[in-house]
């Protein structure tokens, strides 16, 4: 793939002269690239999907908010202990509709990744999420959550301040808010740290995102006694969006541009914007109590259907 792209670059450079042969050749190489990309991405293995979902240039929470949300107003803090930069949230407007939006932020550069703790939240992150969900409920605003985390942060302070309790209460709140809640798995859906924000009325998932009870590496080191077997674990865990849909865990797959969201972030972001807007529109007319009842029923039905 890289070879073809290098050739394309070279030809494009040459085509500055306007030579017709070169223009034709550019077209040929481009279509070969597209074909190869389409073939490659149509049959990505689970492990390859994990790599794509973790791609550092994949659009993150901030990129989605920056493009999709007008009047973005970040809101900070859990009002109990601190503010967690691994989960961001705030108010804004999506396609004309006022919303509360929150999600994991992984950060785009090394410096930002450290600042956002690679999207691994402490209890404060989940408690901030709860606070914002409750606020949304009070003002009858729909909630959007974007999930992109390797998992909740495993650390001393996180445990001392009740990581498990914070996640459990956040799930509790997701399931209880009397306002529409739409979640989207945009990259990595890492275990408890992901479901803490993702127990919504509608759960969308990007085509190459992954969602799992444990990282393939963690699973491999326990069940295969070697993290080197992560590829096998990734396959066994059935963590792709396509598997999620078969299992009834997600409602909709949002297609990614050819070659993954990182190749054409703008297209990927707009596609998710459309899907979020669609999901919110379908929920907008429902009463709070009905929403809660339907949301719970949806989760109660899960696990009654396997992959066969």
């Amino acid at each position: 793939m890289a070879e073809l792209e290098a050739r394309l670059e070279e030809l494009r450079h040459l085509s500055g002269g306007g030579d017709i042969d070169v223009v034709e050749e550019v077209g040929r190489v481009q279509s070969r690239i597209d074909r190869q990309l389409r073939q490659t991405y149509a049959k990505l293995s689970a492990w390859q999907k994990v790599q794509v979902a973790r791609h550092p240039e994949r659009p993150h929470f901030g990129d989605y908010v920056g493009t999709l949300v007008e009047d973005w107003t970040p809101l900070a803090g859990d009002r109990l202990y601190g503010d967690d930069s691994a989960i961001l949230g705030g108010l804004g407007r999506l396609r004309g509709r006022t919303i509360v939006i929150m999600g994991h932020e992984k950060g785009a550069s090394t410096e930002m990744r450290v600042k956002h703790n690679f999207g691994m939240a402490h209890p404060e992150g989940y408690r901030k999420a709860r606070r914002l969900m409750r606020m949304a409920e009070r003002f009858r605003l729909p909630v959007i959550t974007l999930v992109d985390t390797p998992g909740a942060f495993p650390g001393i302070g996180a445990e001392e301040r009740g990581q498990a309790e914070a996640i459990a209460r956040s799930i509790d709140t997701c399931l209880g808010v009397r306002t529409p809640l739409v979640s989207a798995i945009i990259g990595e859906g890492g275990s408890g740290g992901a479901i803490a924000l993702a127990a919504g009325d509608a759960v969308l998932m990007l085509e190459h995102a992954v969602y799992s009870v444990i990282s393939p590496e963690g699973c491999a080191s326990i069940l295969w006694r070697s993290a080197d077997q992560a590829q096998l674990a990734a396959e066994a865990l059935r963590l792709t969006a396509q598997d999620m849909q078969k299992l009834g865990v997600i409602d909709e797959i949002v297609p990614e541009p050819l070659g993954g969201a990182h190749r054409e972030p703008k297209t990927a972001i707009e596609a998710l914007g459309d899907a979020l807007d669609g999901a919110l529109s379908r929920l907008a007319h429902l009463d709070g109590a009905v929403l809660v009842a339907r949301r719970r029923e949806k989760y109660l039905q899960m696990g009654q259907k396997g992959l066969g």
């Binding site: 650390g155 459990a168 408890g192 127990a199 009870v213 069940l223 865990v249 109660l300 696990g303």
Partner: protein
């Protein structure tokens, strides 16, 4: 083929087997290494007489220990989809399940029971660590929901006893979905105005701690139990620091405000009976429910 192999050999085997028995009569305390005689251990509720370490207990044993006169009704757990992902690691999950069922005599890692504690009717859901580390998959989630709903029907408090490493990896994302599902069970009990009491035993970690185990109206733990979200080894590898003394133990969590009580096993039943009495008065659970249980066994 002859009398020697047919008669003598089995008798000899039986003799030899008898000498094996004494091994099972003694247990080493996993904490201090003290040799504990099985009768003493039994009488002491599987607590080391030397150091007070609370040994892990099978779910049935725990339930028996808590209900009046050790009498209770086990409640059938609902059927669940077996091996939904057709998961295979070095061994098939289906095979692991069958092995665990054969070894424990249980269908899955959870036991449901109803009975009375100090005269107050209660429904208990107890996880059994012996069954695949007490891990939570679809079957455990379904049973937990059934337990919560039984409690609601009986107008009885719901008691969850956890001893689990977390979600069952072999059920992948469906195991993770048991977090919201069991939280819904807790919500149903809460909305019925009934008490939900958790008893956290060693260990209570991962997806079990991050769902129903940490949502008790009242949270009790056994002494010295490991309770937390992430495993100690994962934390050490991530932060490259040694963990503080007593980290993720009941007493540590109590100190950090995550638990109401740390109660030794011998005090657990009277504590629960007292709580049921105190909470039953306002929730209308206790004696009325007991009468209903008698009428509708």
């Amino acid at each position: 083929m002859n009398w020697l192999s047919n008669l003598v050999r089995p008798k000899l085997r039986a003799l030899v087997r008898k000498t094996d028995v004494p091994d099972n009569l003694w247990t080493n305390c996993p904490s201090c290494g003290q040799m504990l005689y099985h009768r003493d251990l039994e009488a002491n509720l599987h607590v080391c007489s030397k150091c007070g370490h609370h040994l892990r207990l099978r779910a049935h044993k725990r339930i028996e220990m808590l209900f009046d006169e050790g009498r209770f009704e086990t409640v059938a757990t609902p059927e669940a989809l077996v091996d939904p992902l057709r998961f295979r690691d070095r061994k098939r999950y289906g095979e692991r399940l069958r092995d665990a069922q054969a070894a424990t005599g249980m269908a899955d890692a959870i036991v449901l029971a109803e009975g009375t504690i100090g005269g107050h009717i209660a429904v208990i859901a107890a996880l059994d660590f012996e069954f695949m580390g007490g891990s939570m998959g679809v079957a455990v989630g379904n049973a937990f929901l059934a337990g919560a709903r039984l409690a609601v029907r009986r107008r009885a408090p719901f008691i969850a006893i956890s001893s689990s490493g977390g979600a069952r990896m072999q059920e992948g994302i469906l195991a993770l979905m048991q977090l919201p599902r069991t939280v819904i069970a807790v919500q149903e009990v809460r909305e019925a105005g009934l008490p939900y009491i958790t008893v956290l035993a060693d260990p209570t970690t991962g997806g079990v701690s991050a769902s129903f185990a940490m949502l008790g109206d009242i949270a009790i733990a056994e002494p010295g139990a490991v309770i937390g979200f992430a495993g100690a080894r994962v934390i050490e590898e991530t932060i490259r620091q040694t963990l503080p003394d007593g980290f993720q133990r009941s007493e540590y969590l109590h100190e950090h405000g995550m638990l109401d009580l740390v109660v030794p096993r011998s005090e657990l039943k009277p504590t629960l009976a007292r709580l049921l009495r105190l909470l039953g008065e306002s929730s209308g659970a206790s004696s009325e429910g007991a009468a209903r249980l008698a009428a509708d066994p």
